[in-house]
Amino acid sequence: MLKLIQLAGQWLFLRVERLFNHAFGEENNPLYHLGQISFFLFWIVLISGLYLYIFFKTGVEEAYASVEQLTLEQRYVGGVMRSLHRYASDGMVLSMLLHLGRHFFFDHYRSFRWFSWVSGVVLLWLVYVSGINGYMLPWDRLAQFVTVGTAEWLDWLPIFNGALIRNFIFEGAVNDRLFSLFSFMHIGLPLGVLALLWIHTQRVPAAKTNPPRPLMAWLTASLVVLSLVKPALSQGPANLAVAPTTLELDWFYLPIFPLFYRWSVGEVWLLVGSATALFFVLPWLPPKLRHHKGAFHLMIRPDNRIVAAREGETLLESALRDGIAFPFDCRNGGCGKCKCTIAYGKVDYGIYQNEMLSSEERAAGQALACCATPLSDVELEYVPAAPLGGIAVKRHRAQIVSLDRLTDDVMRVHMKLLGEEELRYYAGQYINILLPDGEKRSFSFATAPHERGPLELQIRHIPGGKFTTHVFTTMKVGDIVDFEGPLGSFFLREDSAKPMIFVAGATGFAPVKSMLEHAFHIGMKRKMILYWGVRSLKDLYLPDLPRQWATEHPNFSFVPVLSEPKPEDRWTGRTGLVHGAIIEDYPDLSAYQLYACGSAGMVEAAHPAFAEHGLSQDDCFSDAFKLAPHVARQGEHAVLVSLGGGGGSGHA
């Protein structure tokens, strides 16, 4: 039944939204900004309310008279402000209800979203209380009806038990202090609404609280026109000796009041209490017994960040929650700005406007991140809207100036940029080498950004790999290569004072070298420890460089770790897995920052182990390439190695 209601609601919303897309465009479609519109209308209510407060007088006679004076004698200022105050309040209720309805119909209120849902329900009630309180202030016949009705309603409660209505039983029973109380409440309650609005958006990553400017302009203009065409007016002064007979009721705020006199007050309490309770528990209805989907992980490129996705969370929400600058706008599958490519894994594509994602695009592995939820570990790639540090990703051309074979399978490549353009990048970022057939191969900068010489790459040979085989066999000095960059968000964080541990696996040393040389260059005094893990001694392809750093910089130390030392290595240093050595040396990692760059296997094993030893997720930066933690490997040589050099990579 619930599902049927939701399907019907989805059908309706999608069709109306499509219609609105034609008129407003996807970016300015009000139905994609309902929460933001509610927020904006609240600001109109607040500003117009402050204006009204200047002229409002708190007295039995003065309350009505001052509002009348404001409405009639300041027709085009006070009158408009009063009307704006009322109509923006009504619009706020309307947009909040639509906002709530959309989330309900699209099933966006369960799991981690319960917080926003429950706080939203509290918010809605508080807005109602504020609005009802506001209708008491002008002390006209509607105010009398609302005040008496509220007292009669509350008097049902044992705590009042008929005592509250005694304050409004005779003409002359109310005094000036009542209006001071009403005014005080009408300031305090909206402040509560504002605080709750802030709380309500806390768990929404990258929550926007302002609609697009054209929407704001249209909304304001429309409400001003309405205020001029149909100004909000009082309905005659209150007189407690005479009951209001016919009233112009605001049905957005006061629909419950007629029920007081059609049903018993107890029945209305039952209705309101039941509805509130139902709304509160809705995120857990129907209860799911032993439901456990398990959390999936996302590998998000080009940032190369591994993000844990919560149950029911869309790809976009996971990315935004982790601080990734994923492009988005409508969040409702209506604009296509968050379109991404699923490189690995399964997703539920969700509900979206079909024009935004054609079946061909879907077949080609594309998805709308704002609607798609992971059904397995997922690797995805998006096109960044804004590059890191404002450094634009550009296409460059370079010439090979040297090729040094450091070991049997590691080549140091120096290449010089052609043209006068300078390449700016962050230490730790990478480039994509563009192959003639359109394919790309990723390698990290091994040079620090401040160095003016040729760019250095450290490339490991992958047997059968198209590009690395070319590097080791046919590439020669003078060859031209095209590449794009800089890319990635794996870079040295300079805004922390924590000591840093660098974990390099094989050619993962390349970006670490770039970061360390940058750190030395800027005179960074933080403690830095490099753990370089390789199989055997011959794989430690630049052993003297970190040792030299250690002698030159007292805040730096170097720990090489061999996992499979050969007898001829006569190795007396650390052995085993590199992350094991780190945990042995630093059992409590809570006070450290950690930069890990290496094979998928290394990062996959290290990440949970580090977390168990207190490493905060915010202090763990990794650059494992083509990796999601639970992605099954399709062979010993498939998709395994680091960005920092490509050795063993499927991108070879």
């Binding site: 008129a23 005694r166 009951a243």
Partner: protein
């Protein structure tokens, strides 16, 4: 869609939005009380007599108490519920038995009832019981001309022991 047409469509949709707001902010009109009716409200707050009369403690009872607690007279706190009946033109309108408030049932009994009645001249009788015997020991009556929409409040003044009819 051409730009001009889009703007026109937007204007129409925004107009529809504010039209909905403008309409439902005052309409449809709500008839709270039919034009030919008046309203009678019964509202008072009055404490009934104590359920048990005050009595003098015996010397034995006093001896058992701490010296600072030896008050001669002891008065049980609980009060009787207040019973009230209102008759409109010889027809019963309200009959309420109001329990005393408070955990110890020692507070005032509060009553609130409302009833729409046809406008016109009415004879109203009221009687109230606030004594342990349950007999109606207070009474009052009045003949009033109730205009359409007017409110007649029936109150009870505990100090004078009389009903007050206010319109």
């Amino acid at each position: 869609m051409p730009k001009a047409l889009r703007y026109l469509a937007q204007a129409v949709l925004y107009a529809a939005f504010v039209a909905v707001i403008g309409y439902f902010s005052t309409a449809p009109r709500y008839e709270h009380l039919p034009a030919d009716e008046a309203l009678i409200k019964l509202s008072f707050s009055h404490a009934g007599e104590r359920k048990e009369a005050c009595r003098e403690r015996t010397p034995e009872e006093l001896a058992k108490l701490a010296p600072n607690m030896r008050a001669q007279t002891v008065c049980p706190r609980e009060r009787v519920p207040v019973r009230v009946e209102i008759v409109l033109d010889d027809q019963p309108l309200f009959h309420v038995l109001a329990a005393p408030s408070g955990l110890a049932k020692d507070g005032a009994s509060t009553v609130y009832r409302r009833a729409p009645v046809p406008a016109g001249t009415h004879r109203i009788g009221a009687r109230l019981s606030d004594v342990p015997s349950g007999e109606f020991n207070r009474a009052g009556d009045v003949t009033v001309e109730l205009k359409p929409g007017h409110v007649l409040v029936i109150d009870f003044d505990g100090q004078t022991g009389k009903f007050v009819f206010r319109s």
